[in-house]
Amino acid sequence: MDKEYYKDLSARAADGDAKSFSKLYELIYRGMYYTAYYTLPNEKDAVDAVIGAARDGFKSIGRLRSEEAFEAFMMKTLCSRIKTICKENSETSGDADENEIKKAFMQLEDYMDRLCAALYIACRLDVSIIAAYTGTLRGSVKKRLSTALRALDLE
């Protein structure tokens, strides 16, 4: 997407234009969904997290300091949502028909491990960005990723 167009959309979204917001959201929603899906035990929560993050993002996009930081802004919002859901529903069971990878993720007991791994694998984010999105230290993210990748048997 053209940078100027992106900035324009961000500005319009910040003015409450839902259509512009949805265009920006279109760029990242798959990443958002995969992050939520592979972190949260059941799909309904994942959908709720993404929609909730979109709502939260839309409501508070006026506070977005840099027009170019939309993705970071949304992903932070999502991570915050995911954390809340995980804390509130710590004993939620997973879906019966989940795929193998989801099952492997769910073997990770700590949701933060799952979140870091999902961001790292599904969204191709590097450690420092994951640390920023999840509000944790880089060292902590590294440790979690190390644990998660080993558990997922990844090279």
Binding site: M1, D2, K3, Y5, A18, K19, F21, S22, K23, Y25, E26, Y29, R30, M32, Y33, Y34, Y37, Y38, E43, V47, V50, I51, A54, R55, F58, N99, E100, I101, K102, Y120, I121, A122, R124, L149, L152, D153, L154, E155
Partner: protein
């Protein structure tokens, strides 16, 4: 498993419908909203967004169990347009669940297409890296060759059949297949399973050329869908043959999304041929000529990919029939444009052919030396290859003659989009994702053509904005324009300036401090007393000396009151917001409510008629079926006792132009007796303001002021406008290019004068009679008397504490030891003193003076009554005073009254004031 493999597996999960942007946008606007149930129109629109082709559409219907009658009907009606399709689907047994299921299938196909592209690109990338290594021994190289060979067979020769077999296999076998993939990656397969030992370097070279060619065609939606649908056919429905699909393709021409036709791509495109082409055909031809791709950068290409499909669809419709013409394109202009493009493409093609010929000869020589097979044999086996990808054989030309083909080809082979390597590197560098290349290339071509088309069309429209103004023939013409706006994502138009938008209450040259809630006015009409604020009309009725409060009258939902006036003992309260209109109130209750779509930008009361000017932007909340032709028209009408009787402004009264925009400026008059609509006229486009009497300001390529008088339209172009307002004798326009200036136009739309030094950030602009009010974003207010448009006179504004009473105002001043209450009447845009009441008070008491409840104030021609209160050090004294121009004032006071004076009414010639202690008569 590697991270890449896991990533790709993770992304195979289909994203649920609930989180796709189209559904989320609804949730953004309304927290409680659920994703809408799909109807036929939404279903078709979403399919189109996914790039589903016509043949695939039929397969989808068949595969998902649509009634045969539906598919047959579509097949048998080649000229069926979108509306026809919608009707057909709506009349079938298909319901929203079926649409959802079909859409999900389509989405799965779409996502798999993306995954396949990704996989293929990654394979290619790996192969490039491996083949680039110069020191590889033949034995070590063989798996690479094998992979290419495997790729060649699976991905190229068989197009997507094999790929889909693999996908289907994966779907059936699940993990087993994943394991086999990992085995393949680890190189653990038996040699006879994956290696072709006989494959020589020459074979590889030729094969590479074939690969390149075939790989040029990334999996299209249609190809992918064919496979999935054929699987569906096997299990769910009778298989459809090719001819069926072709007829379906014609039938569902609305979904012709410019699929790449390799045969067509092969054919020559000459100038003559181009000149005969329709827009769609020409578009396809141009698309097949990828020579223009370098004219655009990848950003444009990315964003234009979808537009390309959309536009070609629309133009496809245009070619089908007039009734399906959703995009009106000047074909002459386009043809000229395409001729130029085609000429360029033709020249490039000739050059390519020449170089291809030279290369072919070199390749042939090389093959003759190293293999028993001849190039001609190979070429005869793959005629498309040589023709389609002339650029592919350019690379060896640059290499030494004796260079190993094996080393040359891998460099060339991955650039498998019939592009040269320079372009590949460029795209890789910018995007870092080679798998987007095909999309970028095709989108770039599409964007180039669109860009040219848009330029020429735009230029044409710009020149003819004013000339193209005409009244619509029928609803369909407007409907098509609306649909076009919807399809093209035309942004919402300018935001109109609502009348009386200022935070403060304005009265002539007075800016009245109205407190938290903006007071609009107080009215004492016979025995009815009203106090109008933005939020409500508070009404009280005086009956036999008893004040009977009535329920507050509130404006319709999402609106607020902006003005009020009285006539013949009736109150008219005008409102604006989501809709505009006015309420006729008498006897303390609402008689009727007139409604007109849009934001109120002007109003007028004369000759027993209230006229309203509004700017209305419809919200796309309905489908676009035939039944919805009237949905997006502006509506006017009346609501009586909760029942709305609204009618659309007739199409023959709506002016349309060639400028983009789907908002309306609406002017209509309403009888004050019954609220009946008369003289409704509207203009469609991007209106900035609408007057109450049929004048409009709208933006197109330039600004346009127009007046609709009977059936005549007079207009005048101007610069693009940021704000506009209509007064009785002219209009004021703030142009985008000249901030800080407001031009005053006369009735003939000629500039008569100009205001300079106006705030650069105008917030709103409107007229009250001849007085122009301009506010800025920081609540600054400028008022100018434009009674003489040639010589407007700025009005010196005065701040005051007071209230508005119809055409009068009462202000209160406390200074020099005196309380002064002044009645002023509005004359020529400024307040003229009518009478005043003065009372001397000690300074301490003066500081505690407050005007009483505004509902207690009333005026008639000569007499004025108002209450005030002050603290004398012991008690709160509430006093009601009645004063005239000449006679001495009359007063009545109460001490520490619970409420003070809250109302007043006239009984005979005397004014009675109401307080908690009862009714008091000033003496």
């Amino acid at each position: 498993m590697t991270i890449e493999e896991m990533r790709s597996s993770m992304r195979e999960k289909v994203v649920p419908e609930e989180v796709v942007p189209q559904n989320v946008i609804n949730c953004l606007i309304d927290d409680e909203a659920q994703p809408p149930k799909l109807d036929a129109f939404a279903f078709l629109t979403r399919l189109r967004a996914l790039g589903i082709g016509s043949a695939d559409f039929l397969n989808l219907l068949q595969g998902c169990g649509a009634p045969q009658s539906v598919t047959e009907r579509i097949k048998q009606n080649p000229a069926m347009n979108l509306q026809g399709l919608v009707m057909t689907l709506e009349n079938s047994e298909l319901d929203s669940d079926d649409y959802t299921r079909m859409l999900l299938t389509a989405r799965q196909v779409w996502e798999r297409t993306l995954t396949m592209r990704l996989e293929k690109s990654e394979r290619l990338s790996r192969n490039i890296e491996q083949l680039d290594e110069p020191e590889q021994e033949p034995v070590e190289v063989s798996p690479v060759i094998e992979e290419f060979d495997d790729y060649d067979e699976d991905m190229c020769e068989l197009s997507f059949t094999a790929v889909f077999d693999k996908i289907n296999e994966e779907m059936r076998e699940g993990d087993d297949n994943a394991e086999s993939h990992s085995e393949l990656a680890d190189g653990n397969l038996e040699p006879n399973e994956c290696v072709v030992p006989e494959m020589s370097a020459e074979d590889y070279q030729i094969g590479a050329t074939t690969d390149n060619e075939q790989l040029t065609d990334d999996p299209t939606m249609a190809e992918v869908f064919d496979k999935i649908s054929s699987e569906l056919d096997e299990t769910n429905a009778p298989a459809s043959n090719d001819s069926d699909m072709h007829s379906g393709e014609n039938a569902a021409s609305i979904f012709d999304e410019a699929e790449f036709d390799s045969e067509e791509a092969d054919s020559e495109v000459d100038d003559d041929e181009m000149s005969e082409l329709t827009f769609t055909q020409a578009f396809d031809k141009i698309k097949s000529k990828k020579s223009v791709k370098n004219e655009l950068d990848d950003n444009e290409a990315d964003s234009s990919e979808e537009s390309f499909a959309d536009n070609s669809e629309n133009s496809g419709n245009a070619a089908v029939s007039d009734t399906t013409m959703l995009v009106q394109i000047d074909e002459e202009m386009l043809r000229e444009n395409f001729e130029k493009l085609a000429e360029k493409a033709h020249k490039e093609k000739i050059e390519k052919e020449k170089s291809e010929k030279a290369k072919s000869e070199k390749v042939k020589r090389s093959k003759d030396e190293k293999s028993g097979k001849t190039v001609s044999e190979k070429q005869s086996n793959s005629p498309k290859t040589a023709k389609q990808s002339p650029a592919k054989v350019q690379k060896p030309k640059e290499q030494p003659k004796d260079a190993e083909p094996l080393k040359e080809e891998p460099v060339e082979k991955p650039g498998s989009f019939d592009e040269n390597n320079e372009s590949t590197a460029d795209i890789e560098e910018r995007g870092g994702k080679i798998y987007h290349k095909k999309a970028l290339v095709s989108a770039a071509v599409g964007a180039a053509a669109l860009l040219c088309a848009a330029y020429f069309i735009g230029a044409r429209v710009g020149a003819n904005d004013a000339k193209a103004l005409h009244y619509a023939k029928d609803n369909s013409e407007i409907f098509n324009k609306i649909y076009e706006a919807y399809s093209d994502n035309v942004p919402r138009g300018s935001e109109a300036d609502e009348v009386n938008r200022s935070e403060a209450a304005l009265f002539g040259d007075l800016v009245l401090d109205s407190g938290d809630v903006k007071s609009i006015g107080n009215f004492a009409l016979n025995t009815d007393v009203y106090s109008v604020t933005e939020e409500a009309v508070s009404a009280s009725i005086i009956n036999n000396g008893v004040v009977i409060p009535r329920e507050d009258i509130v404006p319709p939902e999402s609106t607020h009151f902006v003005a009020a006036f009285d006539n013949n003992g009736e109150l008219y309260a005008l409102f604006s917001g989501k809709r505009s209109g006015f309420m006729k109130i008498r006897g303390g209750t609402e008689d009727y409510t007139v409604l007109q779509d849009g934001v109120l930008t002007d109003y007028d009361f004369s000759d027993g008629q209230i006229k309203l000017g509004t700017v209305y932007t419809p919200i796309f909340d309905h489908t676009f079926t035939l039944n919805d032709e009237n949905v997006y028209l502006p509506k006017t009408g009346v609501e009586i006792e909760g029942e709305e009787k609204l009618t659309s402004v007739p199409a023959k009264n709506i002016i349309i132009s060639s400028a983009k925009g789907y908002s309306y400026g609406v002017s209509a008059g309403y009888s004050t007796d019954s609220g009946k609509t008369s003289d409704a006229v509207a203009v469609m486009g991007d209106p900035v303001a609408a007057s109450a009497d049929g004048r409009f300001a709208l933006n197109g390529n330039k600004g346009l002021l127009l007046k609709a008088e009977d059936e005549k339209i007079s207009s005048q172009t101007s610069e693009l406008m940021s704000h506009a307002a209509f007064g009785k004798k002219g209009c004021a326009v703030a142009e985008e290019s000249e901030s800080g200036k407001v031009k005053i136009f006369g009735d003939d739309f000629k500039v008569k004068s100009m205001l300079t030094g106006v705030s650069e950030k105008i917030g709103a602009m409107w007229f009250n009679g001849d007085v122009l009010t301009v506010t800025d974003e920081s609540d600054g207010i400028l008022r100018v008397d434009c009674a003489k448009v040639e010589a407007p006179k700025p009005i010196t504004l005065k701040m005051a504490n007071g209230i508005i009473l119809g055409d009068s105002t009462l202000t209160c001043q406390t200074q020099d030891g005196k309380l002064t209450i002044t009645r002023s009447d509005l004359k020529n845009g400024v307040c003229e003193k009518h009478s005043e009441y003065v009372k001397e008070l000690p300074e301490e008491q003066l500081q505690s003076v407050k005007l009483g409840d505004s509902r207690s104030a009333l005026t008639d021609d000569d007499t004025t009554g108002i209450s005030y209160s002050y603290f004398d050090g012991v008690s709160v004294i509430s006093e009601y005073v009645v004063f005239t121009k000449d006679a001495p004032p009359k007063t009545v006071s109460v001490y520490d009254d619970k409420t003070g004076f809250t109302a007043a009414f006239k009984m005979g010639s005397e004014i009675n004031a109401v307080c908690a202690d009862g009714i008091k008569v000033p003496k």
